[in-house]
């Protein structure tokens, strides 16, 4: 995803000299070409996230369209008040890009696991959140961000995620995007864990005769309850899936949107247990420990059906 991001951003920056890329001393081998091609549109803010976001806000106030790039929780939680007071309070055109959504940084441990970031960032008024599921959605998200203005959070996986969309998707409308059709249940999924959701759907179909409609939701704020309900029409229940704590994440956002509109539909929320993950292991190993294995997702969807 990060290659799709930087490739698209570099293209947009070549067309629009107002685009700046600010990095928090991260992106070795990723941002180098951009820095060399567009030195006056690039800034390394150093290992100083509070200052980085404040600087980005000042640059945006001076008319720049600023992308801030870092990893894990560093460009979100480490500088949360700068995001709130400097960027969101003033509605500035700053996009915070973080690589390493969920458990992507596996063995680097809990300090590097972005598993509460959606909950935290979702609370800010006026902040748009994109959480793409594959490289094609990343490209589309960069385009959507470049066509609009305002505080944005772009939550990326890591790299070399499989392409799940057959054609370039439209993420700007906010409508859920079909990854696999089905008639029994609708599974709304955000982020790279979509690949696991598709595997579970495949097992449910082949082993249990249960047909699951899998839809990616790349834009999780603002969230359109009507569009979600519309996308689930004809199925008997809705489940959500995310690589993020079940507290305050995408599933919570769906439930809040339904509650606000008085939607009466059963919803099953699948995500990471509300727990500090101290085990050592790869992303796949940790996903399995945390309840996001294909087997466990399959079983919970079967029971919910």
């Amino acid at each position: 995803m990060r290659d799709a991001f930087i490739t698209r951003l570099a293209q947009r920056a070549s067309e629009n000299s107002r685009i700046d890329l600010v990095v928090g001393d991260l992106g070795f081998g990723v941002v180098t070409d951009f820095a060399e091609a567009y030195p006056l549109q690039f800034l390394n803010a150093g290992v100083a996230e509070q200052s980085m976001i404040g600087i980005a806000a000042g640059m945006a106030a001076a008319g720049r369209k600023v992308f801030v790039y870092s990893i894990a929780n560093f460009p979100t939680m480490r500088c949360l008040e700068q995001i709130r007071n400097d960027v969101c309070y003033h509605g500035l055109d700053v996009t915070i890009v973080s690589v390493g959504a969920g458990l992507a940084y596996g063995t680097l441990g809990y300090s590097h696991h972005a598993v509460e970031d959606i909950a935290v960032m979702r609370a800010f008024p006026g902040l748009t959140i994109y959480s793409p599921c594959d490289p094609r959605e990343v490209t589309a998200a960069v385009d959507a961000i470049c066509e609009t203005s305002g505080p944005t959070y772009l939550r990326l996986g890591k790299n070399r995620e499989p392409v799940l969309h057959a054609t370039p998707p439209d993420v700007a409308s906010g409508a859920p995007l079909l990854l696999r059709d089905g008639m029994d249940l609708t599974l709304f999924v955000t982020g790279a864990i979509a690949a696991v959701g598709l595997e579970a759907a495949s097992v449910l179909e082949s082993d249990h005769g249960v047909s699951v409609r899998v839809m990616s939701v790349p834009r999780i704020k603002p969230l359109d309850a009507g569009a979600l309900v519309g996308a689930a029409v004809g199925t008997r229940g809705i489940a959500t899936l995310e690589e993020h704590s079940v507290v305050g994440g995408f599933g919570s956002a769906v439930l809040e949107a339904f509650a606000a509109d008085g939607v009466r539909l059963p919803v099953l929320s699948l995500g990471l247990r509300d727990d500090v993950q101290s085990a050592v292991g790869s992303q796949e190993y940790l996903r399995n420990l945390a309840g996001l294995s294909v087997g466990e997702i399959t079983e919970r969807l079967l029971r919910f059906r």
Partner: protein
């Protein structure tokens, strides 16, 4: 204003008022008429709690009607207890400390890259030099030789509970900024000629003016007294303060 509204931070407002008068009145190329001018100078008030002082100076500099001051901190008023953008002339909402300098570095960096002559001024309290974000930004400003960036520190020596030196020792403050690569000058923060001279002087790098001030300046019972970070004057105290300030003026 503070008395009528029962509002706090009158001491912080009085310590910074001469600094603001010189910046808005004499140095910064900004006025109500130039707020849409992309080449106007940028003034950022990091110590947003000094709103009463800031708004008084800005009203008299013509950014908005002086009558607005009468409704300060009243329900539905234009002017609240921390400096807020949306008020004509205010560039950045503040209130949490350590925010305006990084923002000012971003402003100054864009101006420098564009070859603009505009200057950015950031007014800090001394207590907020405790904030790490300021020192992060200080490194950045010096690294990029942002000669168009000027910080003024309202060095009144007091912070929320006691003196700055009993809280987190700041001295030697001038040497700290110099070590970070800034051009440093120290002036009497109530002497307009000294402030003017220090703010007009250009350097090839970012500059900081450490302005020695007295918290609660001009009112004998407030001067140097920590409680006036919080208290608002009762009617008798207000009458005495106004008499003293008129006498001083």
């Amino acid at each position: 204003m503070c008395s009528q509204a029962g509002a706090a931070h009158v001491g912080s407002s009085l310590s910074v008022i001469d600094i603001l008068s010189v910046i808005y009145g004499r140095v910064a190329n900004v006025s109500a008429a130039s707020m849409d001018d992309p080449e106007r100078d940028i003034v950022l008030i990091s110590k947003g709690h000094a709103a009463a002082g800031v708004y008084s100076v800005m009203a008299h500099a013509g950014f908005f009607p002086v009558e607005w001051l009468d409704a300060y901190c009243q329900d539905g008023a234009a002017l609240g207890g921390h400096v807020t953008s949306g008020v004509p002339g205010v560039e950045l909402s503040t209130g949490s400390l350590g925010h305006a300098l990084p923002f000012g570095v971003g402003r100054a960096l864009v101006a420098a890259r564009a070859g603009s002559t505009r200057r950015t001024f950031v007014v800090l309290s001394d207590g907020e030099c405790d904030e790490g974000s300021n020192w992060e930004a200080a490194l950045m400003a010096a690294h990029h030789d942002l000669a168009n960036l000027t910080v003024v520190i309202d060095r009144n020596g007091l912070q929320s509970l006691t003196t700055t030196e009993l809280t987190l020792r700041l001295e030697p403050l001038a040497e700290k900024w110099a070590a970070f690569g800034w051009a440093v000058s120290e002036v009497d923060g109530h002497d307009h000629a000294q402030l003017l001279q220090a703010l007009d002087r250009r350097h090839g790098r970012p500059s900081v003016v450490i302005a020695k001030t007295i918290k609660g300046r001009g009112v004998d019972y407030m001067e140097g007294q920590v409680p006036w970070h919080y208290k608002s004057p009762n009617p008798d105290q207000l009458a005495s303060a106004v008499d003293q300030l008129r006498g001083n003026a």
